[in-house]
Symmetry: C2
């Protein structure tokens, strides 16, 4: 949905020695023009971003998201973000969200073509109501991401593992999934391994072990997946990062796509093969994800 | 360089039945904010674009660029652009460029998140001076694009062949090339075939035959390459689209990266292996590319 509150950030150098960055924020009307057409985010998808879940005004796992923003910036040769500045920006927009679920977006762009400094902005928008997806599950299709599992290690310039603004393929994959009557997609490698969804991570249950594809495959390391694994491990379950053959997907005891805003969506169908819907376990996962997390 | 003149387009439906679209253009100050932060071009690189060379006020090969814009839009499930509207926008910005070389950019974005219609804008900016690259040549390195040659045919959602705004990887490849002391890069497939440069097409000369990688490999069909092939064929040279093994690059009699603004840049070094610089032939190619073309 459209943002309800937004601010532009006058990007501070990573080593700026100050405690308060309020004077570097400019509150803007999110419906009004804020970016020149020379913005490299708009011209080339040249920047990085994060989406943070907000529950009744509490921003979830802010540190994990800020650290991933910094990691994405490093992979893209962008100046290191000053995390205290971004943390304060997140707090300011969170204070304007009100009750219920919302999503905070952080964007760090390379800036205006010919300019000297990056552009940053943070927005907050009401979250889509995902109650049905969380309770009744989603249908997914697997889509070939085109490359073999070892491509990211060979070719770091592919920016695998960076959450860049260049999401045209992710959006095309979601449209293809809907064309096939599904709700979402799971990317696979050309050599038959499972990667991730266009905007979510995959978690499988095999007995008492929860498995997710190893981020060494160049996928984004999901903040929600990491949070859930910590919770599951604390509850005594085994958790594992593995190379997951796509051929084994349908034989999982259960599977979820997890992300910061939709949270845990149980997968009830993969490429036409049904998977068990575990309502109680899923409800407990989402109850945890909806609780205040730092 | 930064745009000197820009206009926003109130997108007309492809079947709009009118001769004059002047009232759908809003001239803007390219240095001032024009796009809201909810723009999907800026949030997700979700849109398509074209770059058109402008020589002393004459926009080159406009029809070919407009047709490719429409092709890219179709691959991205964007509404078909009304080509007469875009043609008139190109003419209006071209009239404000003055003498010398310039570049016109056309952008068609999916629009503002939650909005109903795409966003379009056209800018003109002075061109970088590429005289040295055209005369003395460029050094290139090959970079693995990660996927095998047959990936685009298997996975159309990869949007290969669409000139999308999601150019983060193209920009990362250019930075990697510079890190290696080169001027530009040539993408190769994981199975060893040549694709294209991040912002240009490759042409090789073998004897009297000029060869370019077949666009069936999912590369962008270069307007400058097509224009040059027509010229060369008219001059009696053989031209061919082939699957080009990367291992054969250095054995070419000559090679060029060709694009709409830098035009024909002779390659003098590929991965440290030198290639002959054909000054006369290159000068004749650029003389043609600098002449008025429609």
């Amino acid at each position: 949905m459209a943002p309800s509150y937004a601010l532009l950030i006058d990007i501070a150098p990573a080593d700026a020695d100050r405690a308060d960055f309020a004077d570097t924020f400019t509150v803007i009307d999110p419906a009004q023009p804020a970016l020149p057409v020379g913005e490299l985010s708009a011209q080339r998808g040249d920047g990085v971003f994060e989406s943070i879940g907000l529950i009744d005004g509490h921003a979830q796992e802010v540190t994990a998201h800020l650290e991933r923003l910094a990691h994405s910036a490093e992979l893209c040769d962008l100046p290191a973000p000053h995390l205290s500045q971004w943390r304060q920006a997140v707090a300011q927009v969170a204070a304007h969200a009100g009750a219920g679920e919302a999503v905070i977006k952080l964007v760090l762009s390379r800036g205006v073509e010919g300019g000297q400094s990056p552009t940053g902005w943070v927005t907050v928008a009401p979250a889509t109501d995902f109650a049905a997806s969380r309770a009744d599950g989603i249908r997914v299709v697997t889509l070939d991401r085109g490359c073999p599992l070892d491509a990211p290690a060979r070719a770091p310039w592919l920016l695998s593992g960076a959450k860049t603004l260049s999401y045209a393929v992710n959006m095309a994959a979601l449209r293809e999934a809907k064309r096939r009557g599904a709700d979402d997609a799971i990317f696979t490698t050309s050599d038959g391994f499972v990667l991730e969804a266009p905007t979510a991570s995959l978690i499988l249950r095999r007995g008492d072990t929860f498995v997710t594809p190893a981020p060494t495959g160049g996928i984004l390391h999901g903040t929600t997946q990491v949070s859930l694994f910590a919770r599951l491990a604390a509850q005594g379950f085994a958790v594992a990062y593995e190379e997951v053959p796509a051929s084994t997907l349908a034989s999982a005891d259960a599977a979820w796509l997890v992300s910061s805003v939709r949270l845990a969506a149980p997968i009830i169908d993969i490429d036409g093969l049904s998977l068990p819907l575990e309502r109680e376990l899923t409800a407990s996962l989402n109850a945890y994800l909806l609780s205040g997390r730092d």
